[in-house]
């Protein structure tokens, strides 16, 4: 296979087509719009369904309906649009339907801006919609990895009858990178699941609903969802590591923050600093066992994010205070430069055995505010 230069959003869209996506329903929003535009042209070419909906609310409910037929369907949007979709996402989770939702995250809250951010971590990783459910959340760090994660997302969605979120930020959605496309899958060769609606011919009617009016039935459903989630936690944890073998400092970062960190880590390694990078690819299920192991190995951890320290909370949960966990983040649509993270690595390496900071998040905000005042 040859590599071709693709714009992120268009690459993800083509990857979805090749994974056998038979229905795309979306609404324009920067910085994910190219996904919709690509599908507007590509899906009709293949005789597949494309609708530009009247809103993200309608788009996700079209996805909800189409998913009831057992076909591979999806949507892509960006932060404010994803907020609107949360109603439908909860219903999809409650109806136990396989659906893929891509969030090309931007700065927020509110209208925020259109610059890349990771501020939707809680929303995408913990759920975001109402009720007891567990989304699977993938966080690729490059166009190629995002392309590969699309087919994986559909496979996981079907295997666990689950909603799968793919989180990328505006950087990955907007940048052009060479990447290799997966082979074209023929959706007509897929076996339709027995729960799908298709017309009750020679069988009892299929009913798909998220309503369990008897609390006991809802409890049974919640337990079924939980048990499925525990299987996901057992089987589907994915991450990448760089120079972790002998690391004394671990950087933990996902997506673009992970990718920028990798440059800083290489730079620091050149200076002989024993630093490694741990990059979760599945944010849900979170690689908690590996992080607990890392906490036993390293002397200090630095979490880097493009938000106020949301994954930081999860890291702390599994480090369990064994080693100091510090934080560095940029906010509001600002992407950190490798130099900023390199400086942090140097700072950590010079204070490797220093006592645990009382409030690492506050320390970071103070450092960041000074840097912003200093025109950095």
């Amino acid at each position: 296979m040859v590599k071709k230069l693709y714009k992120g959003n268009e690459a993800f869209a083509e990857a979805a087509v090749r994974a056998g996506c038979e229905g795309f329903f979306g609404y324009p929003i920067t910085p994910s719009t190219e996904f919709l535009e690509y599908m507007a042209k590509r899906m009709p070419e293949l005789g597949r369904a494309f609708v530009q909906a009247e809103s993200e609310v309608a788009a996700i409910n079209m996805v909800y309906g189409a998913a009831c037929t057992g076909k591979r369907v999806m949507t892509a949007s960006s932060s404010p649009g994803i907020s609107l979709m949360m109603e439908g996402i909860s219903y999809i989770a409650g109806t136990e339907l396989p659906v893929v939702v891509i969030n090309v995250m931007r700065g927020g809250p509110g209208l925020g801006n259109i610059a890349p951010s990771q501020g939707d971590y809680y929303q995408m990783v913990k759920g975001g919609g109402h009720g007891d459910y567990f989304p699977i959340s993938l966080a690729p760090a490059s166009v190629q990895e995002a392309v590969d994660s699309i087919a994986l997302a559909f496979d996981l969605a079907e295997k666990y009858r689950s909603i799968v979120h793919v989180l990328v930020d505006g950087n990955i959605g907007q940048m052009m990178e060479p990447c290799e496309m997966p082979p074209m899958q023929d959706p007509s060769k897929r076996m339709m699941p027995d729960w799908a609606v298709s017309g009750a011919k020679d069988r009892e009617p299929n009913i798909l609903s998220s309503i369990y009016i008897d609390p006991v039935e809802e409890e049974v459903t919640n337990i079924r969802l939980l048990k499925r989630w525990l299987e996901v936690e057992k089987n589907e944890v994915r991450y990448k590591e760089l120079f972790m073998d002998d690391a004394e400092i671990a950087i933990i970062a996902f997506g673009t923050a992970g990718r920028v960190s990798s440059t800083a880590v290489r730079q620091a390694r050149d200076k002989g600093i024993k630093v490694g990078l741990f990059r979760p690819i599945t944010l849900a299920p979170f690689p908690k066992d590996r992080i607990a192991e890392i906490a036993k190995q390293v002397k200090r951890i630095l979490v880097v994010e493009m938000n106020t320290g949301m994954m930081l909370d999860d890291v702390n949960l599994y480090v369990q205070g064994r080693v100091p966990v510090e934080f560095y983040g940029r906010l509001g649509g600002v992407t950190p430069f490798p130099d900023e993270i390199y400086d942090e690595i140097i700072r950590l390496s010079e204070n490797l055995d220093a006592p645990k900071p009382e409030n690492p998040r506050l320390d970071w905000v103070n450092r960041l505010e000074k840097a912003i005042e200093g025109g950095k």
Binding site: V51, A53, E54, Y64, S198, A200, I207, S209
Partner: protein, 257 residues
């Protein structure tokens, strides 16, 4: 379809399930369900039909029909039906919605489904009130009508006016068949059934969006006996919501069923 013996003049449609409904005595949901089921049987559509249930009193409609069904979020049935129809264009897809569902929270979804000429059928139950939540004001509540959220009557100065959905939707080019009928007596019920038939004929012929608005009763929340409620439809609702054909595709207008 089952063979119908000549001496059987009335039986449960194959498209209805045997389950006893939860609807209140005198409620016309049961009549509307039966009319839809009879039409599906007559057109031999049951085995390819997918219904979309709303949120409201008919939230459990899927229990009472004997064909595939999905349950939508409040107001989103037309979007859900769109998703189904677009990936299964050969199937028959209809929504069953109340007035709070369709004309309030689902206004955007119904308008755009009609504007796109989405090839789905909508059965719209207009009883001028929110039934399931216990009788609150709906977008179709009549001026002066007392509900739990308009306790001294709907004051149009502060609460606005009832919305006439059939008239509004008929103005959209994507609409193939949009009519209003009533379920308050036998004559009107027969007319309603014919309209439901023509709505599904519209879909089967690929002529675009079809909707039958059915004026319906809610004795419980109107605080009337079933008979009084039917009279209320005739005397109070029909003047505000005139019965009639608001949009009929030429091909359907010529059709004799």
């Amino acid at each position: 379809m089952a063979t119908v013996l000549p001496n059987i003049v009335y039986q449960r449609p194959a498209s209805l399930s045997t389950r006893v409904t939860h609807y209140c005595p005198g409620c016309t949901h049961g009549v509307a369900h039966r009319l839809v089921a009879e039409v599906l049987d007559e057109m031999d559509l049951r085995e390819k039909t997918i219904g979309v249930a709303p949120v409201g009193c008919s939230v459990f409609a899927y229990n009472y029909f004997n064909h595939d069904y999905v349950e939508a979020a409040h107001g989103r049935a037309p979007a859900m039906a769109t998703g189904i129809k677009r990936v299964l264009p050969q199937n028959t897809v209809y929504t069953y919605q109340g007035d709070g569902d369709l004309a309030s929270i689902g206004m955007a979804e119904i308008m755009h489904a009609a504007a796109r000429g989405e090839n789905i059928t909508v059965i719209f139950i207009n009883n001028a009130i929110y039934g399931m939540t216990g009788g609150q004001m709906a977008p179709t509540t009549l001026p002066g009508m007392v509900t739990t959220s308009s306790p001294v009557g709907r004051d149009v100065e502060s609460m606005g006016f009832p919305i006439r959905m059939a008239e509004i939707l008929s103005n959209l080019d994507g609409a193939g068949y949009v009519v209003r009928r009533s379920l308050h007596d036998a004559t009107n019920i027969r007319k309603a059934k014919k309209a439901i038939r023509l709505a599904f004929e519209t879909q089967e012929r690929g002529l675009g969006f079809s909707m039958v608005e059915l004026l319906s009763s809610c004795p419980t929340n109107w605080k009337l006996t079933p008979n009084e409620a039917l009279t209320f439809i005739e005397e109070n609702m029909v003047p505000t919501f005139p019965l009639g054909d608001y949009k009929v595709n030429q091909e359907i207008a010529r059709l004799r069923v």
